[in-house]
């Protein structure tokens, strides 16, 4: 009696599948999914009726309770209401069924869960330059729900793993009966199953992009802004990688999402197709900036403390394309100060000096400007800067030290 094990090691899988992988990767390029083909597959008040989908939703109940009650949730009624109103606008037929939570995570991400609740990371609010961009991301996430992606992905995975299990069993038995070992083919089949799962996921991301851009256009947001987000993200990743002397990841067969560049290009084509000449679109930049004004210092602070100076500097410069101000100049200074390579001290001091020239300079800009002036041997000006700091922040934890330094 001979037994053969169906377990596959990662190594053998990679070696065995290299040829298949190469052939798949050089295959024909995926056609762009057109926004007009994207129609919502659920209506208002959707509730699952199939057993598998009901199970998925049930599983999500506790996940949502956990997220809603998480310490990471930013408890700000104004921002919560703002996000709710946006998803209520671009959410298509399910607009009023969605729940949306803002978590304090300094990272570019948003996600939709199978039962219709979305999570937005605070890092997204930092990166968006106007309401249209934020609405675009939320519309994309809504698209996942409206196109029923979670249950479709689940069923796809179930079908493919079922087929693989049966196929490898049959191959084993058939092979043993015929006296040949088909293990290598089984390994290739497993790799093929895996790769088709990833590509199915990429196709859904492309669908959500197309659906999202359509929802934006329908609600008078300039559709091109969704493509602009990817341009910004590519720039940020390049800057981050360049600083760390690495290369940005450009996409591969194991990716769950299409590459940023292909999404940018597809979305630009979508936007050109959808934009109606003469129609008045509103990116809502002023509304966006005034809504996030209070939380923006926190968002910048969290980003700067990630110790990713390449990305932080790129982000600040991108945001400054809409105009420099005291807040952005101050955090530019913080990036240099925390990086602390030769010359950064001077750069930081210059940024603080530039920051305090703006009326919105934060108190800490005055503090660091004062310290810089002290070091430069300009005590009178330093004293004035410190005094300004103490006026703005009378209960500063270091108030006693500052007073002593002022002399």
């Amino acid at each position: 009696m001979s037994g053969r094990c169906l377990e596959l090691t990662r190594r053998s899988l990679l070696v065995g599948g290299a040829a298949a992988a190469a052939s798949l990767h050089t295959g024909a390029a995926r056609a762009r999914i057109r926004p007009q083909d994207m129609v919502p597959l659920v209506g208002p008040g959707f509730k699952p009726t199939d057993k598998d989908e009901q199970g998925l939703w049930k599983d999500m109940d506790r996940a949502e309770e956990e997220i809603a009650g998480s310490n990471l949730v930013i408890d700000d009624p104004k921002l919560a209401g703002y996000l709710k109103s946006i998803i209520g606008t671009v959410g298509g037929p399910a607009a009023h069924d969605f729940r949306i939570y803002l978590l304090r995570v300094p990272d570019f991400n948003a996600m939709m869960f199978p039962s219709g609740f979305a999570v937005v990371f605070s890092g997204l609010l930092l990166r968006m330059r106007n309401e249209a961009q934020l609405a675009g991301v939320i519309a994309h996430e809504s698209g996942h729900f409206l196109r029923r992606h979670m249950i479709r992905a689940w069923r796809d995975e179930r079908r493919k793993t079922d087929l693989f299990a049966i196929g490898s069993m049959v191959a084993g038995i058939g092979g043993a009966g015929a006296g040949v070992y088909l293990g290598d083919y089984v390994q290739l089949a497993q790799l093929g199953t895996l790769l088709s799962l990833f590509s199915y996921s990429r196709e859904m991301e492309a669908e959500a992009d197309a659906m999202g851009v359509k929802l934006m256009e329908q609600n008078n947001y300039p559709p091109i802004e969704l493509s602009n987000i990817w341009e910004q993200l590519i720039g940020e990743e390049n800057a981050s990688a360049y600083y760390r002397r690495k290369h940005r990841h450009k996409g591969g067969i194991f990716d769950t999402h299409p590459s940023d560049a292909s999404r940018m290009v597809d979305l630009r084509a979508d936007a050109e197709e959808l934009t109606v000449p003469g129609k008045a679109y509103d990116a809502g930049r002023k509304r966006y900036l005034s809504t996030i004004a209070e939380i923006r210092p926190t968002l910048l602070d969290d980003q700067v403390k990630l110790n990713d100076p390449g990305a932080s500097q790129y982000l600040i410069e991108t945001l400054a394309q809409d105009g420099w101000n005291g807040l952005l100049r101050f955090y530019e200074g913080e990036v240099w100060r925390l990086r602390n390579v030769p010359g950064d001290q001077l750069r930081a001091d210059q940024s603080y000096a530039a920051a305090v020239a703006y009326p919105d300079a934060p108190a800490d800009a005055w503090r660091w400007h004062g310290i810089a002036l002290m070091k430069q041997g300009r005590p009178a000006e330093a004293k004035a800067a410190f005094a300004r700091y103490l006026t703005m922040k009378p209960n500063a934890p270091d108030a006693a030290w500052v007073r002593q330094t002022m002399g």
């Binding site: 009696m1 001979s2 037994g3 053969r4 094990c5 169906l6 057993k51 598998d52 009901q54 199970g55 998925l56 939703w57 049930k58 599983d59 506790r62 309770e65 956990e66 009650g69 689940w154 995975e157 179930r158 493919k160 793993t161 079922d162 087929l163 693989f164 299990a165 049966i166 069993m169 049959v170 084993g172 038995i173 092979g175 043993a176 009966g177």
Partner: protein, 260 residues
């Protein structure tokens, strides 16, 4: 003749590859609650899914609901027999005097501590400071505060997950068994699995005083180990998990010394 022999050998192997394992740890000074005690059971975390042909676990809402109801009924019956008063909380806002946030904090802390217990007591990553057959973990002040506010003596955390092999999975196992005839024997593709664990926290000290894990599973689909959806299966699970609560080592040693 030879083939019949293979079948017999296989049946024996199949039976052996299916088992129920349980291993409990207790605080040295632990005495199982008996008589007039008040027990708080926090959101029993029960899920039942179907094991697909390909080996994925598909959560099933109806089965999960059935299992939760059966387990709660079995738990009430079992605790009533011990003389305890039991309150079972299904949602975080059901406990008077305690905010959902406070309860969430205790639950999350317990989840982290449970993870640590499993890691260092069950998964082989033993700690030199926590050797031997004893349990030495605590939820600290948070749990004591919960006890003070609510008047409960103990909190019980309960987790149960059950995978029921689908028809397709059983068929795959049968196919694997049939393959033995030609020499490709793979009946052990993995079948029903049940993992349950429970931790008991003394709300006077905050200590985790008792912990138990039950792992029931079969490598061969089609062999069952108590189905959580049924009252009988749930009662069996509660009995395996909580029925044979042993006192701590110090207490047992003292009892043996007394007997001599």
């Amino acid at each position: 003749m030879r083939r019949a022999g293979i079948f017999v050998a296989l049946a024996v192997t199949a039976a052996l590859s299916a088992c129920v394992q349980t291993k409990q740890y207790a605080d040295l000074e632990f005495t199982p609650p008996q008589g007039d005690y008040k027990l708080l059971v926090l959101r029993p975390d029960v899920t039942v899914g179907s094991l697909t042909t390909g080996g994925m676990v598909e959560p099933r809402a109806d089965w999960t609901d059935q299992a939760r109801a059966s387990i709660i009924a079995a738990l009430r019956a079992q605790q009533a027999a011990r003389g305890g008063k039991v309150t079972i909380i299904e949602h975080r806002d059901e406990l008077p005097g305690v905010t959902p946030e406070e309860l969430a904090d205790v639950e999350r802390l317990n989840a982290a501590v449970d993870e640590s217990i499993v890691e260092h007591k069950y998964l082989g990553d033993y700690l030199p400071t926590k050797r031997g057959n004893r349990l030495d973990w605590t939820l600290g002040e948070d749990a004591v505060r919960l006890g003070r506010k609510t008047g409960y003596d103990y909190a019980l955390f309960l987790h149960g997950e059950d995978q029921v092999a689908s028809g397709g999975r059983v068929a795959l196992g049968v196919l694997g068994l049939a393959g033995c005839i030609v020499g490709f024997c793979a009946p052990n593709v993995g079948g029903a699995q049940q993992l349950d664990y429970a931790s008991l926290v003394d709300l006077k000290t905050g200590d985790v005083v008792w912990f138990n894990v039950v792992l029931a599973g079969s490598q061969v689909p089609g062999i069952k180990f108590g189905d959580l959806r049924t009252p009988a299966g749930a009662a069996q699970m509660i009995d395996r998990l909580l029925g044979r609560m042993k006192p701590g080592e110090a207490v047992r040693r003292a009892a043996t010394a007394d007997a001599h």
